[in-house]
Subunit: 299 residues, 2 copies
């Protein structure tokens, strides 16, 4: 606890990681209506976000020290925008995650959403969950760092994003399954670079995949349609293509995380192909405020 005198105002949230398998981009002048359609996986590996009320000076030259991730100062535009929207620029945000950053796990969306939940509690802002999701979604869209992670991370499970946008705009559905998840990450892909380029072909491929998934929403189809999408959208890197080929040669299936040089598979797909993947499960819940006492409960 870095700032022990403000402990009584600390609040913390957990937000699952989110891997998008395929998507279509839907820009809009209204950030609450902008976003993406698509489908993905929320992970039991996620981000713990703690907010210390008054833990940060709030002066402009302090800005670079407002957010820490795994012990390092980091600028996360989406989180700064959430603090502004909730009138909490004197807060300090401390995030911890085992997930690789910039590799397609929605870490920036998780920090934005976790900040919204924890600030709402620490500052008694009295907002509803949909309000907080909307604020974090708009912050992420305006920062250009993501289009659909936040609404998926607020839902949990295997989310299908039927419509783009924040809760008032975007309907969600889900695949009813809880497979084991494996992933390996080879590095970063710039979300901003892809999203700011021509997304016409990508979006057409994403719409096809969504339509095909809705016909039979199963984990197997999520992976095969995501694999097809990455090829059609021309996003495969050599590392990723090799790993997918190896998993298929071993009798499994795998696909690429949008957007990162990351491969994911269900059940034992990557292990069977000789990789040493990270292993986790589908997270059944969305973002959650952590109980104050932090202790075990008896039920």
């Amino acid at each position: 606890m870095v700032n022990s005198e403000s402990n009584q105002y600390d609040e913390a949230a957990f937000v699952p990681g989110h891997v998008t398998g395929f998507f279509s981009a839907h820009p809009d002048e209204n950030p609450a209506a902008a976003g993406s359609r698509g489908a993905g996986i929320t992970l039991s590996h996620g981000v713990d976000v703690r907010v210390e009320r008054g833990g940060h000076g709030g002066t402009p030259d302090d800005a670079s020290r407002q957010v820490r991730l795994n012990g390092e100062a980091i600028e996360i535009d989406a989180a700064a925008r959430v603090l502004e929207a909730l009138d909490a620029t004197d807060a300090r945000v401390v995030a911890e995650t085992p997930l690789p950053v910039g590799a397609g796990f929605g870490v920036s969306g998780a920090i934005a959403l976790g900040t919204a939940y924890a600030v709402n509690a620490a500052y008694d802002r009295g907002r509803s969950e949909n309000d907080l999701v909307r604020i974090a979604h708009c912050a992420e869209v305006e920062a250009g760092s993501g289009l659909g992670d936040v609404v998926a991370q607020a839902r949990g499970g295997l989310p299908i994003r039927l419509d783009p946008g924040a809760p008032d705009h975007g309907q969600l559905d889900g695949i009813p399954a809880s497979p084991r998840v494996e992933y390996v990450s080879f590095g970063r892909v710039s979300t901003e670079e892809i999203l700011s380029g021509d997304t016409t072909a990508l979006t057409a491929a994403g719409e096809r995949a969504l339509s095909d998934l809705r016909e039979a929403p199963t984990p197997e189809r999520l992976v095969s349609l995501s694999r097809r999408f990455a090829r059609e959208a021309d996003l495969l890197t050599d590392h990723v293509a090799d790993a997918i080929a190896a998993v298929r040669a071993a009798g499994g299936d795998a696909a690429m995380a949008m957007l990162g040089e990351t491969v994911f598979a269900f059940d034992g797909g990557l292990s069977a192909a000789g990789y040493d993947p990270e292993v986790c499960s589908v997270h059944p819940a969305g973002a959650t405020l952590l109980a104050e006492d932090g202790g075990d409960d008896d039920c």
Copy 2:
């Protein structure tokens, strides 16, 4: 395991219990549009529902043995309707719960929803989560056993039902908090009896409570508005009124579960008043298909 030869087709789901604090009733000829507005609490105490594919003969005179709850044969119209809708009348449904039945915990809704999830997996029906929620919601409405538990139990957390109906119709929101929950139950109230009577005054009181909760969605207001609703809707029994008074005299707050002779409070409210309540937490997730291996995972 009663029917060990059909194990390979067994699938199981967990559905949280749900206590409604206040509601308004909205009948409609279309069961997917019918339902209730209101707010409540999903509980970490819930119902485990296992479906054995082909475990039941499916003949009419077997009907009473199709569903077992805590080891006893029981007729649950909503579950039978789910089996019919998913073309799985030869299934056997085995449910287990620590929750009191008929006392306002949404056990019938949980069995209907858990049956939908487990049948979809055991019979490879390829439905989406929204499809399964819609089927269970309609079954519960047509059975007359509930109006809003299913959609709340599919969401988890502290659900606010903004609109009546299944996922295509009803929008949900939530209170962002994870308080500890205490409850004591004195007995049953017939949901069917209340819902089939004149609900005009009840619905007016429920709409007022919803409007007031949306102004500041916090756990404290959920309890105080629920307490007001039970009084205005004239649903308090002597047992319940006494317990609520005792909790308030001890400095806490409590309200009545809709519909059961049950009192709930957050944090230590009932304990502080000298009761020996059941204790659980808010369940962060909605209904979840249980992983096949049933073992621990490492993350």
